[in-house]
């Protein structure tokens, strides 16, 4: 039962409500399907002015309330992170849902199929958290995605920050769905920095296979510092053979594991093609 609904316009007021156990609601797209039997009071966090995208020299700060539609159209985010974020945001669900889903909600919802967390992980994003009576804190997205860690509990996500660099970054992003508006059955997101002919700072994130997206560390190690060639990619992909998969009814674990391999290879290929062209 929803006992009360607050629409504060000041962050402090929202934090006070959250501190006493109220539940933050952004896009509200999962509010009514989550069949909670307990009485809750809601804090609408969409009127706090947290819907700005601010581009600095070395980072872009994406307000918690930025919708995926807004993010998908954010031409002002430069470079590789901008291109990747726009591509990922545009791929999620359907138009009206993208108009509602917020960046913070997509992170805090922690649905295994959520499309933004893998991308944010590949971009080394940090999550900015606000809590009543505490200084704002920043948490690496990787830490937030660890099981049981929800640094925003008792408070709220205020923004997600993605670092920007002058280095030559490239990405590849692949997502497998049965229909365009489907949940992802598997995703693969690759980011890397080009150092002459060598691959540096390689991130390969697999999403939708387990409860949380994760970096394929073994595969990354096979690529890090290497020149891009088919053998290196084969070696990296070979490490994905034993990826753990959380079972669900949408497709078999074996199939989703295969998909992750194919998508990873394709994402790597895209990143490489981009690197070659740029």
């Amino acid at each position: 039962m929803i006992r009360d609904y607050h629409s504060p316009e000041r962050v402090e007021d929202a934090l006070a409500l959250l501190a006493r156990g109220a539940v933050a609601v952004g896009g509200a797209t999962a509010l009514y399907t989550a069949k909670s039997s307990r009485d809750i009071e809601l804090v609408d966090v969409t009127r706090l002015g947290l819907d700005q995208i601010t581009v600095d020299k070395d980072k872009v700060v994406i307000g918690a309330g930025v919708t995926l539609s807004r993010l998908g159209a954010a031409a002002d985010i430069p470079g590789m992170p901008g291109a990747l974020l726009r591509k990922a945001a545009r791929a999620v669900a359907s138009e009206p849902l993208r108009n509602m889903i917020t960046v913070a909600g997509n992170v805090a919802g922690l649905n295994y199929w959520a499309d933004l967390p893998p991308v944010l992980l590949a971009l080394d994003a940090t999550v900015e958290v606000r809590k009543q009576g505490q200084a704002p804190s920043a948490h690496p997205i990787a830490a937030c995605l660890e099981a049981g860690k929800h640094p925003w509990e008792g408070g709220m996500i205020a923004a997600v920050t993605v670092p920007l660099t002058q280095a030559a970054q490239v990405f590849g992003y692949e997502r497998f769905v049965r229909t365009v508006t489907d949940y992802s059955l598997a995703t693969a997101c690759v980011t890397m920095t080009r150092d002459g002919a060598l691959m540096r700072n390689v991130h390969l994130v697999i999403g939708a296979l387990q409860a949380r997206p994760h970096r394929a560390a073994k595969a990354e190690a096979k690529l890090e510092g290497k020149a891009y060639d088919a053998a290196a990619v084969d070696e990296a992909i070979a490490t994905l053979g034993d990826l753990p998969v959380a079972p669900n009814f949408r497709a078999s674990p074996g199939y989703r594991r295969q998909l992750a391999g194919v998508l990873s290879r394709r994402a790597l290929m895209t990143a490489y093609e981009w690197a070659r062209e740029s």
Binding site: R3, Y5, V25, T29, T33, S94, E95, N99, M100, T181
Partner: protein, 158 residues
């Protein structure tokens, strides 16, 4: 809860339970063009309305969220004596079969054409991707949107 919102250009006072959805409230107020087709999941699009001009799904929108804002339903577009060009385009293209998804389709179309005068077929398909239709196979709907875009452009010529 009690709050004010503009609905189809009229200032209205709304009273509802804090957990009420916008869909429930609008239908109780008599805006029955707004339809329900899924279980408060936002997966069918029949409940689409415009919130400050942006298509959203009223079945998963908490009603209090619209306080102080403007909601548009298809009732605001036109009536049979003076249909909106988008309504006329849907009728003339044969894009209306059972009609249950039509109000939502029209509003998604309006939001699209308000910001993009000459959308490509791909942009049309993307803009309507949240509005399921089981009758038409979408062909005539996409055609109607194309025709509506042309009609609106024509209308705006001096």
């Amino acid at each position: 809860m009690r709050f004010n919102a503009k609905i189809n250009g009229l200032k209205r006072e709304i009273e509802c339970a804090p957990g009420a959805t916008l869909l429930e409230v609008l239908r109780l107020m008599g805006y029955k063009s707004v339809k329900q087709g899924c279980d408060r999941e936002g997966t069918c699009g029949a409940c689409t309305v415009l919130l400050d001009g942006t298509p959203i799904l009223s079945c998963i929108t908490p009603a209090p969220r619209v306080a102080g804002r403007e909601v548009t339903t298809v009732e605001a577009l036109g009536d049979p004596s003076r249909p909106h060009p988008i309504q006329a385009a849907f009728v003339n293209a044969g894009a209306v079969q059972c009609g249950y998804c039509t109000p939502g389709m029209l509003l998604s179309t309006k939001a699209l054409l308000d910001r993009n005068k000459k959308p490509t077929d791909e942009q049309i398909a993307t803009a309507l991707s949240g509005n399921l239709c089981r009758c038409t196979g979408y062909v005539k709907i996409v055609e109607a949107v194309r025709n509506a875009a042309a009609a609106l452009t024509e209308e705006q010529k001096p």
